[in-house]
């Protein structure tokens, strides 16, 4: 198979976000070299300025309705891709904002921290556009490399090194699974492009099925769905907290972009064969994550397990395998972005001053900082899915999409899990509000952190109370999945 790759000026415009971010990355790296001993906060602010410009570029592209397929269909720039790019950029901005002041205090800190964060973000931007198996594989690895270093950033800390090693070994193993799966699918269909696979895989052959399963398992590792979640708790606990937050959001979003295209564009016609698999994955992740979260005493581990359960929730929409399901996924990711990142921001703010990540360190937080307590309440309740917060609407949307496809068993398991999760979130809420603080000195919050926390809280409320514009946004982004089975065969 050969194709002549021609790059036109219009193609370059479509690649503008990635090109811009690459330039920004090089700029930050150079600046870091020029002034090795300077104030690194400047790098953070500069990165965020650049990312803000990038967000504007993405918005402009979405408004002008860019829809291009580059390099022989390997790379698409459509609304779905733009949505996920914006998602990644937004989460990167927030991560950089909460890192300021926290990571500088780490013993191993160097200016390249921000470069590595941007580097991972670049990988994820590319991932959002992947429309063939090879691009998917390369971008997936690309985005993970940055994380290998970032997770093990505190070299002197054994927990951090362990976290990095765990992520690396399992990540490499996953990569081999995916590569094997790709080779099988290529062998069966003779193509790597998603739309082409859909056209050529009319009958399900064993090779195709095994290849599909291997890739699904590999992506399952990336999103941390049970039973592929092994690396999540230790990695989340050991990594520097901003990186944990980053890891819990951005790669998940990008991986769902790939999963959506992989499942709906390439294998949408065979969905009768794989829906039950996703139903199972989803049930397992929700139940396992929530049950184990109950027993945690470290807040980062608690959020790690709750994160596994949240991924299970998002998989409900994937199991629905419909336009509504993908709308629900996009919307839920938005709610998850603000709620989860907000919760991590509070954790960073607290551990910056108390130095601890135990749930018991949150005792009496309400007396030490009413603002942190109130926002943590909002974030945790949103994660639990309590109205009028974002998570409630998101979960309802997911369950409605599954109910429309007749997956009532999944809806029942999901609803039971809402109650289970309420328990452990409420235990944290109890520590914050009911218990008396051990040390009652008031906590002060750096201004950037405050902006992120309050901004997230506002969005969590806004998404819950007035979600109309966001619904419009996500339904526009998933237009390509209208009538999944038909769209790919046109």
């Amino acid at each position: 198979m050969t194709f002549a790759v021609q790059i036109t000026a219009a193609d370059l415009w479509a690649l503008l976000p990635e090109l811009f971010l690459s330039t920004l990355l090089c700029l930050i790296l150079t600046l870091d070299f020029i002034k090795p001993s300077g104030d690194k906060r400047l790098l953070a602010h500069l990165s965020n300025l650049g990312l803000a410009v990038l967000l504007v570029i993405l918005a402009e592209m979405a408004v002008s309705g860019v829809d291009r397929r580059l390099f022989g269909n390997m790379f698409v720039v459509d609304r779905l891709a733009l949505f996920f790019k914006a998602f990644v950029v937004l989460s990167t901005m927030m991560i950089i904002a909460v890192s300021v002041g926290y990571t500088e205090a780490l013993p191993a800190f160097r200016g390249e921290y921000y470069v590595l964060v941007l580097f991972s973000a670049l990988g994820m931007l590319l991932m959002a556009s992947a429309n063939d198996l090879l691009t998917m594989f390369i971008t997936l690895e690309f985005s993970t490399f940055g994380f290998y270093i970032l997770v093990a950033y505190q070299r002197k800390d054994p927990a951090s090194s362990e976290a990095g090693l765990k992520l690396f070994i399992l990540g490499a193993f996953t990569a081999s699974l995916i590569a094997f799966g790709i080779s099988l699918i290529y062998g069966e269909t003779g193509t790597l492009v998603f739309d082409e696979i859909a056209r050529r895989s009319q009958t399900v052959t064993p090779g195709l099925a095994v290849g599909f399963l291997l890739i699904l398992a590999g992506l399952g590792f990336k999103i941390g769905a049970a039973p592929f979640h092994g690396w999540i708790p230790d990695t989340y606990q050991g990594a520097p907290t901003p990186i944990t937050a980053f890891l819990s959001i951005a790669p998940k979003g990008a991986a769902f972009a790939v999963l959506l295209r992989f499942l709906l564009s390439a294998f949408g016609a065979d969905k009768a064969h794989w829906v039950w698999l996703l139903v199972l994955l989803s049930m397992l992740s929700m139940t396992y994550g929530n049950l184990v979260a109950i027993a945690q005493s470290n807040i980062k581990r608690l959020l790690a397990y709750s994160g596994i359960a949240q991924i299970g929730n998002i998989l409900v929409g994937l199991a629905a395998a419909s336009k509504t399901g993908s709308d629900a996924i996009l919307f839920y990711l938005l709610t998850y972005l603000f709620a989860n990142l907000g919760a991590f921001a509070v954790i960073i703010a607290v551990s910056q001053q108390t130095g601890g990540d135990l749930i018991d360190d949150y005792k009496g937080l309400n007396r030490r900082s009413p603002m942190l307590a109130a926002t943590m309440l909002i974030f945790l309740l949103s994660l639990a899915g309590v109205p009028p917060l974002a998570g409630f609407i998101g979960k309802l949307y997911l369950f409605v999409s599954a109910a429309k496809e007749g997956l009532f068993a999944l809806v029942i398991v999901g609803l039971v899990n809402v109650v289970i999760s309420l328990y452990y979130y409420m235990v944290v809420v109890k520590k914050i509000y009911v218990n008396e603080p051990v040390d009652s000195t008031p906590l002060s919050i750096p201004p950037m952190m405050k902006t992120v926390i309050l901004g997230s809280a506002v969005f969590v409320l806004l998404l819950g109370i007035y979600p109309r514009p966001f619904f419009a946004l996500v339904t526009a982004a998933t237009q390509i999945f209208v009538g999944v089975n038909v769209a790919v065969l046109q």
Binding site: A374, L381, F392, L396, V400, L422, Y423, N435, P467, F471
Partner: protein, 527 residues
């Protein structure tokens, strides 16, 4: 023309809570002022609503509708019918009184009022929602403030404080220990019970949404046009009934309720017993009766059977309690059975009586909880045997207690009497056995309330009561006076109420019974 009356009633407390967020906890006067003004506004407007509601026209009035999401078919659809008007009024009366009852709270007054106002608005939100989504939205929203109110400002019961191992008291494992009664345990139990009930009901709601094929959550629209397949209807009805009945709380799903009452601060117990529990009955009427009328007729026997257990079990357990709040809590559980009986008998008189009784019970139980809370504040105990002789220390409270007791038992001149009478008259032809048991339940109520009254006020003055004071002239007396006045006023002049309620009940009963029954309410008000 759309009127904004309902949204004003609903959002006034919400706005109050929002404003409170920006006020410092030190400015106690300002905090109280905001709470009074926002709930007072709702209170006055709800009274206006009762008299502005045109019962001759009936149906849904003061409706407001805004599209909230086209993708899911949700609209923010508010409005009242004859059934919701009294409940809105009850909610606003109780929260207004609740603000005064919790006047003296020392710890974090601002947060207390914030959560109280959110709780009250969320409750009212359920009563005025005409969209299934928002009904559920507000329903679930009312649960979380309850958790915080109980866990922060609640009080432990005896066993907890005797636990020597303090480390164990705070451990997570402790919450699973069913033997002790800490406030956190009560709060968590309540939250999990109600959330579990809510998700069961939500499953039913989702089934209605997907099988009706209308792509809407609007209750009037679903009631008019939905075609749900027969065998599924039964399942949906059971899900809705048991989901919502767990908050009502029907026997055997009641166990969270007395514990919750006992742990809650007075104002929260008032709202909890007064209006929160009625969310269950109301939601069953709103969802199951309206959308699944034929299944309702077929399955109401479930309610008719279970209500007997509620009445007798609750009454007997109340009789043997030592803790004042447990007595009132079990008594509330027991009285909820009357409402189910009225709902099960399903004729205009019994259902009107049931709705009226929901209102009446809110006032009676509100008074009792307010006074139990006051006595606890003064004596620091709720143990009846260690109290006594309070008549010398607090004559006003004693007087108010007599009226509350009369209302709770349902003596003539109180609005409870009319509600009970209508339930009994309406149910007699349909379920004579249950009606007789209900009458026995009234006797039982008389028994345990009199026993508590004697234990609290008569006999030798006990040591805990030595330094007790009577209710202060304004702040402590006002809420009791308001509730007494409402109870007596509507006991003497119930006609407006009965007209309004029956204008909502008649079409519903006619729809369920298939043929329009020619049972109308006495024309000029007095039953």
């Amino acid at each position: 023309m759309t009127s904004h009356l309902i949204s004003l009633i609903l959002f006034a407390p919400f706005l109050g809570a929002g404003l409170l967020f920006f006020v410092s906890n030190q400015q106690r006067t300002l905090v109280r002022a905001i709470a009074i003004i926002s709930t007072g506004l709702s209170f006055v407007l709800s009274f206006y609503l009762l008299y502005a509601y045109n019962y001759q026209a009936g149906g849904l009035q003061f409706t407001e509708q805004y599209i909230w999401s086209k993708e899911l078919g949700i609209s923010f659809y508010l409005g009242v019918d004859g059934i919701s008007v009294p409940l809105v009024l009850a909610s606003s009366i109780l929260v207004f009184c609740g603000v005064f009852v919790s006047w003296h709270i020392k710890d974090r007054l601002k947060e207390f009022y914030m959560f109280l106002l959110i709780l009250a608005s969320a409750t009212m939100g359920v009563y005025v929602s005409l969209d299934l989504f928002f009904l559920y939205f507000f329903y679930e929203m009312s649960v979380i403030p309850m958790y915080l109110l109980l866990a922060i400002w609640g009080s432990h019961t005896k066993g907890y404080l005797e636990m020597a191992d303090t480390a164990k008291r705070d451990s997570i494992g402790f919450l699973f220990n069913f033997a002790k009664n800490s406030k956190e345990y009560a709060a968590m139990k309540l939250t999990l019970f109600l959330s579990a009930g809510a998700v069961v009901a939500l499953l039913g709601i989702l089934l209605i949404y997907t099988t009706s094929g209308l792509h809407t959550f609007s209750i009037p629209e679903l009631a008019a046009h939905s075609h749900i397949p027969g065998n599924l209807k039964t399942l949906i009805w059971l899900l809705i009934f048991f989901g919502f009945a767990s908050i009502a709380p029907i026997w055997p799903l009641h166990s969270w309720s007395p514990v919750g009452h006992a742990a809650a601060p007075a104002a929260v117990s008032m709202l909890h017993a007064g209006v929160l529990m009625k969310l269950g009955h109301f939601s069953i009427i709103r969802v199951a009766y309206e959308i699944l009328p034929d299944t309702t007729k077929q399955w109401l026997i479930v309610a008719a059977v279970l209500c007997v257990f509620s009445i007798i079990y609750g009454g007997l357990v109340a009789y043997f309690q030592r803790d004042t709040k447990y007595v009132i809590g079990y008594s509330s559980s027991s009285h909820m059975g009357y409402i189910f009986l009225g709902m099960a008998a399903l004729n205009v008189i019994s259902l009107t009586g049931a709705v009226l009784y929901m209102f009446a019970h809110a006032l009676a139980t509100g008074m009792l909880f307010a006074m139990a809370g006051f006595i606890y504040d003064q004596t620091h105990t709720r143990d009846i045997p260690s109290l006594g002789g309070l008549s010398r220390k607090m004559p006003f409270i004693m007087g108010a207690f007599i009226i509350a007791l009369a209302a709770s038992v349902g003596l003539p001149a109180t609005v409870n009497f009319i509600g009970e009478l209508m339930i009994v008259i309406g149910s007699w032809p349909v379920y004579p056995v249950q009606t007789i048991i209900a009458l026995l339940g009234i006797a039982l109520t008389m028994g345990y309330l009199m026993r508590m009254f004697r234990g609290l006020f008569f006999g030798e003055l006990s040591p805990p009561g030595a330094h007790a004071h009577d209710a202060s002239p304004f702040v402590d007396r006002l809420p009791l006076v308001i509730m007494m006045a409402c109870s007596l006023y509507f006991g003497f002049f119930p006609s407006q109420f009965i007209h309004v309620i029956s204008s909502g009940v008649e079409p519903l009963v006619a729809k369920i019974q298939g043929v329009a029954e020619v049972v109308s309410v006495p024309p000029s008000g007095n039953p």
